[in-house]
């Protein structure tokens, strides 16, 4: 069965080609069918593969040799194991739902752009599958860059708007910064081990010095920072909301941004052997989680709030990875995929209904107009806030518990972030769905529930958000209930063998669990109460509020510290160094020749007397040079003796 794994990326690729080439000739419905159908097909194959892996374990399928030179062979190979197959399911499953949703959401587009959209989406899925399936770091990198490209294309999908294009470019460039780190890590691996294939790398890991491992993991983590929007490379993700909302759901919530987590989980053995990097990962993750959460509190754009929430959640995942809770991180990826996709799609549904109004201050009371969207959105909010028994609770709890075991400070800070999460999510929820409508009359007139192609994915995802956490019920509740951990155990086996175990006592765990849940509930109630009766106020925020509204001025900081100096240096090079120093030197030689020419011409005075004079002088000089040993010396001797 695993032999068929190549079909999984092949379907979306075909979809991309058909939709891309036929975008002008195919009808919209056909495009939609092809676009979603290919993903569905992949999903089905993925399911088959999933069961195959469950039954038969890991397998590697080599298609052909991508690069084969003396001392370095990089096969174009797919590795199907527990980890990749999980991601396959998320990508194709959630991907399919979002494709389906898109057929309705994007229906207003012209056919050719509609086709283009689906082509990009399919290409994205293809790249993401490549990323996940690759059996070595190079193939992963292919997918890694591929998703970056698709992200670029999709963020800038409405290319007439230059702001969107800037956002797209920003995303690509920031991703590239990370990619450079990734690449350097791969070079380092190849340099030291002569291979980039996972199995070889992980089995030869003992040959690497601790410095090598630390450096490689740190570089890989830089790659992850870019892709998964961690400090300091996170600023692209909120801007990426310029893309169509389903894109945000798929790429910037459910799949692409989790590539960094996938990569680190994949390389878990390396990280386990590099405790330094691991703490770095944990700290960066934690910092991002809190930092993004603070920003989210003050955002008024529905998608921006979700975007910062995503950044924050990704931070949690990295925290999990950093404290060695690989399973927890992957678990959170899964649940996050469900509820965050749901949130985005719900937001999309709202935006759709509001005719592309995204400011939550101008919404309100949508509960009665859009019941399905409302319910599903609420479920998702509960999930992300971490209310049991919704999925988010389990995954977040697993990470936090692991953090607690590692270092209580991690836990408390993480909990603070979680509280903020609950706060801003319910702020968002109340502003959007509760209270009275604050938009224009015309908007109110048009408010309606979305079509079924949009609501069905919402419902499916809502179900998943609710029950998705049950694959990872902690041991606390039931012995051996954590089926995900058992499923993934082979992947993390070598890491768990090395890692030192911290186990909390059961009673302690219960205490933390109940305490934190209680706090979250309090925060939720506070948030709903504060914003239920929200009326637009004109007064400016003050103090911290301004800073948060302006996202801690990070973009401005980057502009001031990196972008502007770089531009200035480039301008200096272009306008000064190139023109006056380098070209100036070349032209200077030319000018020197010209100057010499004009001066030497004067020697040719036209006067015979001068000519003869120079000749005679030259003769004298020649004689003196030739007889330097006798003439001059002779006269000097005569002079002084």
């Amino acid at each position: 069965m695993s032999k068929l794994v190549y079909l999984i990326p092949l379907f979306p690729l075909l979809g991309f080609l058909i939709n891309g080439l036929g975008r002008k000739s195919l009808s919209k419905s056909l495009i939609g069918i092809i676009g979603s159908g290919t993903i569905l097909a992949s999903f089905i194959v993925s399911l088959l593969v999933f069961f195959d892996v469950k039954a038969n374990g890991v397998s590697v399928i080599t298609l052909f040799n991508f690069i084969s030179i003396k001392g370095l062979i990089i096969p174009f190979a797919f590795q199907v194991d527990q980890l990749s197959v999980l991601f396959l399911l998320i990508i194709t499953g959630v991907g399919f739902l979002i494709h389906l949703y898109s057929t309705a959401y994007m229906h207003e587009e012209e056919p050719q752009h509609f086709g283009r959209y689906f082509a990009y989406l399919n290409l994205f899925v293809f790249s993401m599958l490549l990323l996940v399936l690759g059996a070595n770091y190079v193939i992963m990198f292919i997918g890694w860059e591929g998703v970056g490209l698709c992200s670029y294309l999709l963020i800038g999908f409405w290319f007439k708007n230059n702001n969107y294009n800037y956002a797209a470019k920003k995303a690509f460039v920031m991703n590239r910064i990370g990619d450079l780190g990734f690449l350097l890590a791969v070079f380092w691996l190849i340099f030291k081990l002569g291979t980039a294939t996972y199995s070889d790398v992980f089995s030869q890991v003992a040959q690497l010095s601790s410095f090598d491992i630390t450096a490689i993991t740190a570089l890989l983590f830089i790659g992850a920072m870019g892709k998964s929007a961690q400090i300091p490379l996170y600023t692209w993700l909120p801007d990426a909301m310029a893309g169509p909302t389903p894109v945000s759901a798929l790429i910037h919530a459910a799949t692409m941004v989790t590539a960094g987590i996938y990569m680190i989980a994949r390389s878990n053995i390396l990280y386990t052997m590099a405790p330094g990097t691991q703490s770095l990962v944990a700290m960066v993750g934690l910092a991002t989680a809190i930092f993004a959460a603070t920003i989210a509190i003050k955002q008024n754009d529905i998608k921006k709030v979700l975007a910062y929430s995503t950044v924050s959640q990704l931070g949690y995942m990295f925290l999990g990875l950093g404290v060695g809770a690989y399973t927890g991180a992957v678990f959170h990826v899964i649940t996050h995929a469900f509820f965050k996709a749901l949130l985005f799609l719900g937001a999309g549904s709202v935006i759709h209904a509001m005719h592309h109004e995204q400011d939550i201050r101008k919404m309100g009371g949508l509960k009665k107009y859009m019941p399905i969207t409302h319910i599903t959105f609420l479920l998702a909010c509960l999930a992300i806030a971490g209310i049991p028994p919704f999925s988010g609770f389990f995954s977040k709890d697993e990470i936090l518990m692991a953090a607690l075991a590692k270092n209580p400070i991690y836990y408390y800070l993480g909990l603070g972030g979680a509280l903020m999460t609950a706060f801003y999510m319910f702020r968002l929820y109340s502003l959007t769905f509760l209270g009275g409508f604050r938009g224009t009359n015309e908007q109110e007139h048009h408010l309606h529930e979305s079509p079924s192609a949009m609501t069905i994915p919402l419902i499916v995802l809502a179900i998943l958000s609710v029950i998705g956490g049950w694959v990872g019920i902690p041991e606390l509740f039931a012995k051996d209930a954590h089926s995900l951990e058992h499923f993934l155990a082979p992947i993390f086996a070598s890491s768990t063998a090395i890692a030192d175990k911290h186990h909390l006592e059961t009673s302690q765990e219960w205490m933390y669990l109940i305490g934190s849940t209680a706090l979250i509930v309090v925060v939720i109630i506070y948030a709903i109460n504060s914003y239920k009766k929200y009326q637009p106020i004109t007064e400016e925020s003050t103090g911290l509020g301004v800073i948060l509204e302006n996202k801690w001025y990070v973009d401005e900081l980057y502009d001031a510290v990196i972008v502007n100096p770089l531009n200035a240096v480039a301008g200096f090079f272009k306008n000064f160094v190139e023109k006056y120093v380098i070209d100036g030197a070349v032209n200077g030689v030319g000018r020197l020749v010209g100057y010499g020419s004009r001066q030497l011409r004067l020697l040719q005075s036209g006067q015979v007397g001068n000519y003869l004079l120079i000749m005679v002088l030259a003769i004298v000089v020649f004689v003196l040079v030739w007889f330097n040993d006798i003439t001059i010396v002779y006269y000097l001797n005569r002079l002084f003796n």
Binding site: G596, L600, Q604, W626
Partner: protein
């Protein structure tokens, strides 16, 4: 010897044909016939057939090398007359005399190709020079021509004085006028006895060297060149700048060949100074010339700088190279001058747009210019190649070669200005009437240049069989 006699006789024939013939256009054909005769006579001697056997008591000694050289000079003259014969006829009022003088010059060239005594060198150079003074001033109404003639004469005579002093000093030291019998005397210096030539002789050789530098217009004795080349009627400039000049070079090499024993290490320093000065002045000054004719004068100085490499290395490959250089340089320069003479305006702007009005002229001129700048696939490349290769082979003076190639790059600048004017600039280049035969001649020259450039062995093999 054949060539000396035949060319002297032909000079007389030309003089009389001027009296006998009323139609001056036939002169050209007589001259061409005469040159062919001369060529054949010289070839005869090259391969051992003598018309008259004259015992010159070792004053003259003809070797293959010299005779080959003479062949090149005569052939170049032949091409020159074919291309520019009509212009010689129109240069002044005495066409027959001009042709006669050209033959007398060739007589001088032939002497220089075989001299074995400083006396013959002196006579040869004088026979070469005196007709040139006259040819330079042949445009009698033109003040520039007059001035050039007088300048040339005065400086030439002055140099003849220098040269004679050199010869006298050599004679004083060696007691003979032979060119290959340096006197090596032992002078006790600082207790040890090292053989070295007498100071007098060295001084004499030095003065001779200076005089020869003057003849080949090597800096800093080049000053006459731009003025004279510029002032002389173009058609005679062409002759002077090519055949006469390379003959001077040949004499130079032949002269110093025999003196190599007395030329100590200082010699190379001095020579490299001269080479660099020549390259510098020739190339740099040419850059800003507005008149193509004057530019070519400086270019001929620059080319002399390259030819001096043959002296520097003083090897067989250099001798071979100087033959090639002579051929390549003469061909190209004759070609360019032939076109230049047809132009109404000698400035660079006068060439503007020539490619549109006269594509054949433009193309052939371009090939000639490419050859002068030493671009591969033209004869000029191999000429320069041999010069550089000979120096590189000696193992010393690599820096000199590098300097030389840098100047060669400068030379591209002014040669290509002409190409740019012809091809890339707008304008209407005015020419006098161009005949089909003239074009054919030019194409032949260009073809020859390319042929030598692709297969120099065509020419070089000739020297060996």
């Amino acid at each position: 010897m054949n060539a000396i006699i035949v060319s002297a006789l032909l000079g007389v024939v030309m003089m009389f044909s001027g009296i006998l013939l009323k139609n001056k256009s036939t002169l050209k054909y007589i001259a061409i016939g005469g040159l062919l005769l001369l060529l054949i006579a010289n070839l005869f001697q090259t391969y051992g057939v003598y018309t008259v056997v004259v015992n010159s008591h070792e004053l003259l000694r003809f070797q293959k090398f010299g005779l080959f050289f003479n062949t090149i000079a005569i052939t170049a003259t032949l091409i020159y007359v074919i291309l520019s014969g009509k212009d010689i006829e129109n240069a002044g009022n005495y066409p027959a005399e001009y042709f006669a003088l050209i033959f007398f010059v060739l007589c001088g060239v032939s002497i220089l190709c075989g001299f074995n005594s400083l006396l013959m060198l002196f006579l040869g150079i004088e026979i070469l020079s005196i007709p040139l003074y006259i040819l330079t001033g042949s445009d009698k109404r033109n003040l520039k021509s007059n001035e050039a003639s007088l300048k040339y004469f005065l400086m030439g005579a002055f140099t003849a004085g220098i040269m004679l002093m050199g010869i006298a000093l050599i004679y004083g030291a060696t007691g003979s006028f032979g060119i290959s019998s340096p006197s090596i005397i032992s002078t006790p210096t600082g207790g040890t006895s090292v053989p070295r030539a007498s100071y007098l002789e060295i001084a004499g050789v030095l003065l001779l060297f200076v005089a020869m530098c003057f003849k080949v217009s090597a800096a800093p004795f080049h000053f006459w060149t731009p003025d004279v080349y510029d002032g002389a009627p173009s058609v005679f400039t062409s002759f002077m700048a090519t055949i006469v000049k390379v003959a001077g070079f040949f004499a130079f090499i032949r002269l110093l060949e025999g003196q190599s024993a007395i030329l100590g290490p200082t010699w190379k320093i001095l020579l490299s100074f001269v080479i660099i000065a020549t390259l510098l002045i020739g190339n740099i000054t040419a850059v800003f010339q507005q008149s193509v004719k004057r530019m070519l004068a400086y270019s001929s100085i620059a080319q002399a700088g390259f030819m001096l490499f043959a002296l520097y290395s003083a090897s067989d490959i250099a001798k071979e190279g100087i033959l090639l250089y002579a051929a390549a340089y003469s061909l190209a320069t004759i070609g360019i001058f032939a076109v230049l003479i047809k132009m109404k305006d000698y400035t660079l702007d006068g060439f503007n747009g020539l490619a549109k009005t006269e594509p054949v002229l433009a193309l052939t001129t371009t090939i000639c210019l490419l050859s002068l700048s030493g671009i591969p696939l033209t004869a000029g490349f191999f000429a320069k190649y041999y010069m550089l290769a000979s120096v590189v082979k000696t193992g010393t003076g690599l820096w000199l070669v590098i300097v030389a190639v840098l100047f060669a790059a400068v030379s591209v600048y002014y040669y290509f200005r002409v190409i740019q004017a012809m091809y890339f600039k707008e304008g209407v280049a005015e020419t006098t009437e161009i005949t089909a035969g003239f074009k054919a001649g030019l194409v032949f020259v260009a073809a020859l240049i390319v042929l030598i450039g692709v297969l120099p062995s065509v020419l070089l093999n000739y020297f060996y069989f």
